[in-house]
């Protein structure tokens, strides 16, 4: 099913007695233009060497080494509490590893942390969506944070199956719809590295398929993705690496 079909399907649905004003969406026009980032094929973007992480006196993982190159997708798997989110937060520069080093483009992360942050899109465990704000207002916030100018957010939300829900506070949306609003950021970000904590949570099958398809586009552009998920990726990625974290006592 094409994306425009999904949005048309949603347009037909009724949402209680709310009468949203539908924007005119030209489905033939490519809606989102990507600002290209410089890509060197196979360039090492993130390099982890002998990482260790200790939380509450428990060693989550130690001596963890891996490399993420341009075009790579790294799936971090493992049981609940195995340290997936902690690893992602390390990679996002939010906390420092207890041991080991992280390199970004072959330079120590601490030296180039601003460059790295400017090239990183991190969507964490929580959605990053304020419930009292509408989808449009939430998008405007993240757009401003990313420094991306304002194109047509109505079209973007329609593409994500949220047509007609643009002006409703997000606490009136379902969990999956909130997740879509949160992930909409990926459609306008110009960052090369995406770090996503459980992006498929609460999404329905069609949205998961759409997102995986979009991941493929990003990888083909030379982007890199690190994500955690409990679901198997249904799409075949050539550059997929799976990192299985064992639960340790």
């Amino acid at each position: 099913m094409a994306l425009s079909d999904i949005s048309r399907f949603v347009l037909l649905r009724q949402y209680g007695n709310m009468r949203p004003i539908f924007p005119v969406v030209d489905s033939k026009r490519p809606v989102i233009k990507h600002q290209p980032f410089s890509v060197i094929v196979g360039q090492e973007l993130l390099q982890a060497q002998a990482l260790s992480c200790i939380r509450q006196d428990r060693v989550l993982f130690e001596q963890l080494s891996f490399t993420v190159r341009a075009g790579d997708i790294l799936q971090v798997a493992g049981k609940n509490g195995a340290g997936k989110s902690s690893l992602l937060r390390l990679l996002a520069g939010l906390s420092a590893p207890d041991e080991g080093t992280l390199h970004y483009r072959s330079q120590p992360l601490s030296d180039v942390v601003d460059d790295y942050a400017a090239n990183l899109c991190f969507i964490g465990h929580q959605s990053g969506i304020h419930e009292q704000l509408t989808a449009l207002e939430n998008l405007a916030f993240w757009r401003a944070a990313a420094g991306v100018p304002q194109p047509d957010d109505y079209a973007l939300l329609a593409q994500l199956g949220l047509a007609g829900l643009e002006d409703i506070p997000c606490n009136m949306l379902s969990a999956g719809q909130q997740r879509r609003v949160s992930l909409a950021r990926l459609w306008f970000t110009s960052c090369q590295v995406w770090i996503l904590d459980e992006p498929f949570t609460a999404l329905d099958q069609s949205a998961i398929a759409m997102l995986q398809q979009y991941f493929l586009q990003h990888l083909n552009r030379g982007g890199a993705i690190v994500l955690t998920t409990h679901q198997n990726l249904t799409l075949q990625y050539n550059s997929l690496t799976t990192l299985e974290l064992a639960y340790r006592w």
Partner: protein, 221 residues
């Protein structure tokens, strides 16, 4: 600058949608001050004498009431964490919080000052001093309460911790502001007190954003 404008717009929208967050402290201010004449008795001279201290204590407590929830929502729903990951975008966010906090807690106190002056029998000379001290003092109160809120954002029940952290920092302001009003009531010059308040405000304005920035980073990591 674009980010600051957008973030400020967001904060103001949130204020418009969560009116209780800022109306309650303002109402608290008015109610406390209207109870004083009732409790102490309609003795105009006595009211005039206690007015400076009472007004400023009520202002401090009302600003403190508004402080706790400043970053709570953004912490809980992950906005803060993801903003810290972007690094640059945290600055405009902090300034937007500061400005919106003053607009919602400081400015109403300044606007309500004529009513308060009426309730506590403040004469016209002291009223001018009260207006000036509120204008200079409330931005400082906002700066300090944003700092306190940033430091305690990850604490579950941060309210009492916030009060313990921030009230001592309010005390110099309380002393100089009420001293300025007392001097005005005795028809003495009070520029000295105002100048010190301005100095405190400028120092806080220069340093507090850095502290808030660091405090937020520490709290999400």
């Amino acid at each position: 600058m674009v980010a600051l404008a957008t973030f400020l717009q967001r904060e103001l929208r949130l204020l418009a949608r969560q009116k209780a967050d800022w109306l309650n402290p303002v109402l608290f201010f008015v109610i406390v001050l209207s109870l004083f004449p009732l409790g102490i008795g309609p003795e105009p001279n006595l009211l005039r004498i206690i007015a400076p201290g009472v007004i400023w204590i009520a202002a401090l407590l009302s600003v403190l009431l508004a402080a706790e929830r400043l970053f709570k929502d953004d912490y809980r729903n992950g906005v803060l964490e993801q903003l810290v990951a972007t690094r640059q975008a945290l600055w405009p966010f902090v300034f937007a919080k500061l400005i919106s906090n003053w607009l919602s807690t400081g400015l109403p106190l300044v606007l309500l000052s004529p009513l308060v002056a009426l309730l506590l029998n403040v004469d016209s000379a002291s009223f001018l001093a009260m207006l000036l001290t509120l204008l200079l003092g409330t931005p400082l109160l906002s700066l300090l309460s944003v700092l306190g809120a940033a430091l305690t954002v990850s604490a579950d029940k941060g309210g009492i911790l916030l009060a313990l952290l921030i009230l001592p920092l309010y005390i110099p302001l309380l002393i100089f502001a009420s001293a300025a009003m007392e001097a005005a009531a005795m028809a003495l010059p009070y520029y000295g007190q105002l100048a010190i308040m301005l100095a405190m405000l400028l120092v806080a304005l220069a340093l507090v954003p850095f502290a808030v920035n660091s405090a937020l980073k520490i709290n999400v990591s």
